[in-house]
Amino acid sequence: MATITYKCPSCGSSLTFDGNAKEMACSSCGSQFEVESLKQAIEIEKESESFKEGTNWQAKDEGFSDEELNRTRTFNCSSCGAELITDETTVATECAFCGSPSIIPAQFTPGTRPDSVIPFKVSKDRAVELFKNYFKNKKLIPNLFKKNNQIDEIRKLYVPYWLFSCTADADITYSAKRVRSFRRGNYRITQTRHYRIRRAGTVDFKDLPVDASEKTDNKLTESLEPYNTKDALPYVPEVLSGAQASRADVAIEDSKKRADERIARSMQNELRSTVLGYESVVPISTKINVPDGTCYPALYPMWLITTKKADKTYTFAINGQTEQLTCDIPMSVPKAIGWFLGIFAGSSAIITFIMSLILQFR
């Protein structure tokens, strides 16, 4: 299988996709090219140059198990010719030898070719800056992270998602109470009116993303939501240039379970928001139907940064579009207790001081 590397027509360096300008950019000479213009330039080059194509390097099967072979793919870097070994889901990567960005569109299996891609708006420098800024003024961060926080690895990733759109319907019955309390003579009278409430209706959901990659933790990808789909571009391989990307390897059926869970919770919230004026509302019967709507694959941008501390690897993820950051840095419990006691004591002292002033001037 061949990989695609986009070369700068001016200087021959590798091109990457600039999400802000929505053009291919050359980091060496600074040239920018529209995707369509670049395609035409490549066609012209293909016609004018004769180059050997289709060199089929065969992967040696010695030492590889059948399972490993099934999950391993080899490619040739179209820039330097080196053999690239990736897993079965990688659709964009960088050559380990020459660093050229390589796109492997053939890796998309039927149904996993993304319909849309949200390009990166956050540059690598900005991602590094966000990582460094994270450690400033964090009250509950363990002392381990107070200094010398070095990036162990930073990766520009397109994460595959399944985007679900549907019209869900729900029929929920609630038991509700209205409570009125008043004084009658020497008695406090509490009247409780009991109601049976029914709400049934539909709600439209659009482009609910569910992580479609086995490699990334759902909690991590959901922490980076929401993405703004208005910036999404129709998929073209050029967009992936300069980043790493995988195709969806989680079946739609499996992702749908997660989508159904979130939609069901939203349906409950939406219908509950229409039940007003009661002191107590308890659902007694809930029927939610999430029909099969539409589902299509998409790629969303993410910077993945790892840092090592005391032989442990910690992960930071940054939404490549919105700069939303999340991580798995633990919270320091002793610091939390210390801060709680400190604020408690400080607040008590301030309140007591204010009260003594009030008493003095009263």
């Binding site: 049934a200 922490s223 979130r262 709680f340």
Partner: protein, 260 residues
């Protein structure tokens, strides 16, 4: 002779003047008006002495009355009327009159009328507070000890609280408020850690205005009612705070009362 007469007149005039000046002071020595002869002489002496001490330490005058003829007044109103009849009330800034009216109801009634600073300081005290002070001695009609208890109670209630005492009163509230502030601060710090967290719903992906209700019914089923008695379980106390009333002179009093 004329000189002697003049001297006698002069001395008499001086004595009368002195007497006139000292009338209120002398009157304040008597605090117990036991018209029914309920208390013994020794008890009256002790009560008078204690009431004088109360006056010296708090600045509030107290009189204790027993009567079999409350003239149709309620016990607290009678106490106020009685005070105004025996004291130069217009020159008193703070006083309390307590009356045992044995002719009210089956067993009689007690009433307290307070005025001025005393009224302000007793405003936070309830009928139950007064009843609880007297309660141990009411069944045995031991009104002497009931009054000693009552004066101890007044001593505390009419002595302005120190700043520390007031602040100590609020310590539980200060602790609760501080704990809430600390918990809020910690939750903000924890949120600032931006740790990975699953989304609970799909709220960000609901199309605005897409909720269409097919059924929206609120059906009233039934009503339940509970009654809770407000007053305490005691029969002789009417519960609640003190009431206010005016005497025939137009003075406004704070009043508390109960049955004996």
């Amino acid at each position: 002779m004329k000189k002697i007469t003049l001297l006698i007149v002069l001395i008499t005039a001086i004595l009368i003047s002195c007497l006139a000046i000292s009338v209120p002071a002398l009157a304040l020595d008597k605090h117990v008006f036991d018209d029914t002869g309920f208390f013994s002489a020794e008890e009256i002496d002790v009560l008078n002495r204690r009431a004088s001490e109360l006056y010296e330490s708090t600045g509030s005058d107290l009189i204790i009355i027993t009567t079999n003829n409350s003239k149709g007044f309620s016990a607290e109103r009678f106490a106020a009327e009685y005070y105004e009849s025996v004291r130069d009330y217009e020159n008193m800034e703070s006083y309390v009159a307590f009356a045992f009216c044995f002719d009210i109801g089956k067993r009689g009634a007690y009433g307290e009328a307070s005025y001025g600073t005393a009224r302000e300081m007793l405003a936070g005290e309830s009928q139950d507070d007064l009843y609880n002070v007297l309660k141990p001695h009411l069944p045995g009609r031991d009104y002497y000890n009931a009054m000693l208890n009552y004066m101890d109670y007044l001593q505390k209630a009419l002595t302005p609280k120190t700043k520390v005492e007031i602040l100590t009163q609020y310590v539980p509230y200060i602790f609760v408020i501080s704990a809430i502030i600390a918990a809020i601060a910690i939750s903000i710090f924890a949120k600032d850690m931006r740790r990975m967290k699953s989304q609970s719903s799909a709220a960000n992906y609901v199309l605005p205005g897409s909720l269409k209700l097919a059924h929206s019914n609120d059906i009233y089923l039934y009503m339940t009612e509970t009654k809770t008695k407000i007053e305490s379980s005691s029969k002789s106390s009417s519960g609640g705070g003190s009431s206010s009333f005016s005497s025939s002179s137009g003075r406004s009093y704070g009043g508390r009362s109960g049955s004996l």
